[in-house]
């Protein structure tokens, strides 16, 4: 379990509680400035809360050594960069950095699995600069998977992806949850959260506004209260779209 207990970050988060379970896809939603990325950074152990704590399997993240935390929690930042024009395979291999002294065969196995999971076989020798946006997003996600983390945290992984690529990535993330990983995504797109998450956490100005199934946490009254928009859900469950009356 990955658990936020009364996590407070000055001027950004106020006493936020959240319990995340393995095998679940959890979406963190909220308007701009609600503290979504801040909460994700705290959960990833990159930002120490001013008050409260984040527990990983009952142990405070601040008590873990950096590499132990890094082995357990994979994190993909909001606008990932790749400074050098490495090949896809080299990029993915960077995910092995937290694991020192692991047999080469095991490391290579993890890299191969990550490449397979993100369907990057044919691109493995291609330099990153020559990937399309969707391919690059998959390669970056494969880098996180190569760590074999128990938790997969990603900040707006669907931003800048077109419809088809976003759907592919979501399906791949669902499969990761099916294998027992906890998946936590900051999502701007409420329809994506509604249709693909098992649970949704809604933040509003640094406070927890809702936490539950997508249907509960993103119900129309919640949207009106938090986003100040009179929106309506249309369509079948699993394929819903949000309609905003002009």
């Amino acid at each position: 379990m990955l658990e936020a207990r009364a996590v407070t970050v000055r001027e950004r988060l106020e006493a936020v509680d959240a319990v995340l379970r393995p095998g679940e896809v959890v979406a963190i939603c909220g308007p701009n400035g609600a503290g979504k990325s801040t909460l994700l950074s705290c959960l990833a152990g990159l930002l120490a809360p001013d008050a409260g704590e984040v527990l990983l399997g009952g142990t405070s993240l601040s008590a873990l050594r950096a590499y132990e935390r890094a082995q357990a929690i994979g994190y993909l930042p909001q606008s990932p960069e790749v400074a050098w024009d490495v090949s896809v395979e080299t990029l993915v291999s960077l995910g092995r950095i937290p694991w020192r002294g692991v047999p080469r065969a095991e490391a290579q196995g993890a890299i191969e699995n990550a490449i397979a999971a993100m369907e990057l076989h044919e691109l493995r020798h291609r330099p990153v600069s020559r990937l399309s946006g969707g391919e690059k997003a998959r390669a970056l996600m494969a880098r996180v998977l190569a760590t074999r983390p128990r938790w997969l945290l990603a900040d707006e992984p669907l931003a800048n992806l077109d419809l088809a690529h976003a759907a592919t990535l979501v399906a791949m993330l669902r499969r990761q949850a099916g294998e027992g990983r906890g998946v936590v995504l900051v999502l701007h797109d409420l329809a994506a959260a509604m249709n693909h998450a098992d649970r949704v956490i809604v933040l509003d100005r640094g406070r927890l506004a809702a936490d539950g199934t997508p249907a509960q946490a993103l119900a129309e009254p919640v949207i009106e209260r938090v986003w100040h928009a009179k929106a309506r859900w249309l369509g079948e469950p699993g394929q819903q779209a949000l309609s905003l009356p002009g």
């Binding site: 935390r69 930042p77 400074a83 090949s87 080299t90 960077l94 950095i97 020192r100």
Partner: protein, 320 residues
């Protein structure tokens, strides 16, 4: 890709013996009656060659590490202010007249480098951010530069002034085993620090946040870099003066031959830096010049500046 290191080693194995034969007096290995050949080899050429190797290796590796750290192919070890700090120390040894005493000049220079390193680690702060660190380095560099100019303008004698100015145009002429014993161990130690930092530099390829999520401690990485760049560059300046552009050019030449991770760049850059400096120093020695020898620092700047321009133009085309 994996052949880069053996290739560079082969180049060095060829260049080192040749460099021992080349100079004002050419030594013909098949006609061993050259006068004083043993003395020229053992007391002049061998230490000079070893010094070129040490200084070049240090600058090359430090450049590779700096570019990895700043995630910028135009970064140069000079940016951290360590080379100017070391140069300031050397200038002060001339200014005070201590330079004449054995070991005083390199010692002053190392103290200058250590001062710059200490100042850097003090300013850089607990957060370990790259931007603040770089600005601190640039501030130290410009402060050391200003103090150097001050020292030159207030030089006690015209002789001291000319000594300072000549020394600043780095060279390996008239060096002895003494300098080798100073530069080689410190450079090796510095290389060790850079190699320890290598994995963290790889993680930094993905940006600071992702690097931290991979377990990199930014503060520790900064300290490793200060120690690594400080020792390699500080030792280099202490024995050879300012030699620019090696740290900038060498990682560039080597990068396409590797998988482009910073960690796979450090050792090849050290070897290529050693080779470049050895060959450049030989050429300086052999080129006939009326006033004596072309200064190594000047020669490398003459090659380096157009190369840098070429890089900039290529990058501009890449952006367009």
């Amino acid at each position: 890709m994996t052949r880069t290191i053996p290739l560079l080693l082969a180049g060095l194995a060829l260049a080192v013996p040749l460099s021992l034969l080349a100079g004002r007096v050419w030594i013909d290995p098949f006609a061993p009656e050259t006068r004083n050949a043993a003395v020229i080899l053992m007391e002049l050429r061998l230490p000079r060659a070893l010094l070129a190797l040490a200084v070049g290796a240090g600058l090359g590796a430090a450049g590779a590490a700096m570019q990895g750290y700043l995630r910028n192919p135009l970064a140069d070890p000079g940016l951290f202010g360590i080379a100017p700090g070391a140069a300031l120390g050397a200038v002060l040894s001339f200014w005070t007249g201590y330079a004449a005493a054995p070991f005083a000049l390199p010692l002053f220079s190392l103290v200058g480098a250590a001062g710059a390193m200490a100042l850097l680690s003090l300013i850089a702060g607990r957060e370990g951010g790259v931007a603040l660190f770089t600005l601190a380095g640039m501030m130290i560099a410009s402060l050391a530069g200003a103090l150097m100019s001050l020292a030159i303008s207030l030089a006690p004698t015209p002789f001291a002034m000319s000594e300072i100015v000549t020394w600043l145009m780095g060279a390996l002429v008239d060096r002895s085993w003494r300098e080798v014993w100073i530069a080689a161990p410190l450079t090796l130690l510095g290389l060790g620090f850079l190699l320890v930092a290598a994995r963290s530099l790889d993680a930094l390829t993905l940006g600071e946040a992702a690097a931290r999520s991979l377990g990199v401690d930014p503060r520790r990485l900064q300290m490793l870099l200060i120690a690594g760049v400080g020792l390699t560059v500080g030792a280099g300046v202490a024995v050879a003066g300012i030699i620019g552009f090696v740290g900038l050019i060498v990682p560039h030449l080597v990068r396409p031959l590797t998988d482009r991770r910073p960690s796979s760049l450090i050792v090849p850059s050290a070897l290529a830096g050693a080779l470049l400096l050895l060959v450049a120093d030989c050429l300086c020695r052999v080129l006939p010049l009326a006033g004596g020898e072309l200064r190594l620092g000047i020669a490398l700047s003459l090659i380096g500046a157009p190369f840098f321009l070429h890089l900039l133009l290529r990058m501009r085309r890449g952006l367009a």
